[in-house]
Symmetry: C2
Subunit: 202 residues, 2 copies
């Protein structure tokens, strides 16, 4: 899916193999799955795992950071478009998407590692934050805004706080605990409990 930067469409000579692009990213993912920390990951090791010469990697990416950014991007799927029927169901859809993502075995330990490394280099994190996370949050905010207008959500609650109220429990479980902490039905339970409130009779 993810194609590294290609400066010009070179017309002469053997073209770069897109399969090799993918093989390199796959190798990086495989190593990360096996528990390697991002810091302990090396271009050399990735090339070895991919069955590829080091130069082939360096031909595509200038260094580990840029490669990591593409690795992270390769994990992204288009988030589902909320159906727009009820706000409650849309919220469940979004959280359920997050849950399956965390379960996807690759992503759980992986996202944690990548997020940490990204944070270290502020520029990379900003790029990822602005491209990917911002879009997700915007989608969520739109749903919340609709809920506020339709009366399904109180209008005296900060939407930003609200977003974290819904996503926080899912995220913190995925990052702190193991995959088993994201059981079936968790999305519904979070949404319904936050909507209804915890104290009896509101």
């Amino acid at each position: 899916m993810t194609a590294p930067e290609r400066t010009e469409p070179r017309l002469r000579g053997r073209p770069r193999s897109p399969a090799t692009d993918a093989a390199i990213i796959e190798a990086a993912l495989r190593l990360l799955e096996e528990g390697a920390s991002v810091g302990g990951l090396s271009i050399e090791g990735i090339a070895r795992e991919a069955g590829v010469g080091k130069a082939t990697v360096y031909r595509r990416w200038p260094g580990k950071d840029a490669l990591m950014l593409d690795v992270l991007r390769s994990l992204e799927e288009p988030s589902p478009e909320p159906a727009g029927v009820s706000v409650r169901d849309d919220l469940v859809t979004i959280l359920e998407f997050m849950r399956r993502r965390g379960l996807a075995k690759r992503n759980s330990a992986l996202l944690r590692s990548l997020v940490t490394q990204m944070h270290a280099h502020n520029e990379l994190w900003r790029a990822y934050d602005e491209n990917v996370i911002a879009a997700r949050r915007a989608s969520l905010r739109a749903v919340l805004r609709r809920g506020r207008e339709s009366g399904e959500i109180r209008d005296d609650v900060d939407l930003e706080l609200l977003a974290d109220l819904f996503t926080g429990p899912m995220l913190s479980r995925a990052m702190l605990h193991e995959w088993k902490e994201l059981p079936e039905g968790l999305a519904e339970r979070i949404v319904d409990t936050v909507l209804a409130g915890v104290s009896p009779r509101g």
Copy 2:
């Protein structure tokens, strides 16, 4: 604060300097604050930063992992004992403690890194999880149980889920975003919103 294991109380010879213990841990913290990733941290670098010979480090800890565990422990403060007046106030106390922790600048980026590295080595993570996190969660669960008995909390909600509902938003902000995302009053707002619920009139 944190003293590395000392196998026996050696009676003869020059005793180890507790000041050196602290200097090493301080150096590690300093490097982590400066943005070094845990993976990129080296015993050699820590010793250099501390103005200490490498052997002095190896005399105290068998390797980086063990040292990291003590570094992590050195960040722990005793969590506040909930006053026990109202469950709502106790929850605010706990969350406010988490917030100040995340703000402490050392801990924000630091906890993120350390948690990631700990997760890599399952044994260390289990040790930390059982010693520190479990105690915190137990304290929180006790408050929630009391709230359920006193009628301040509905009795049809899973306490485990409830704990994440309260702590998740704070944790995910601290880990994903920057320090500025933990503003004054956040603890109260989370607790009150989760208690009251988001939909109007409960």
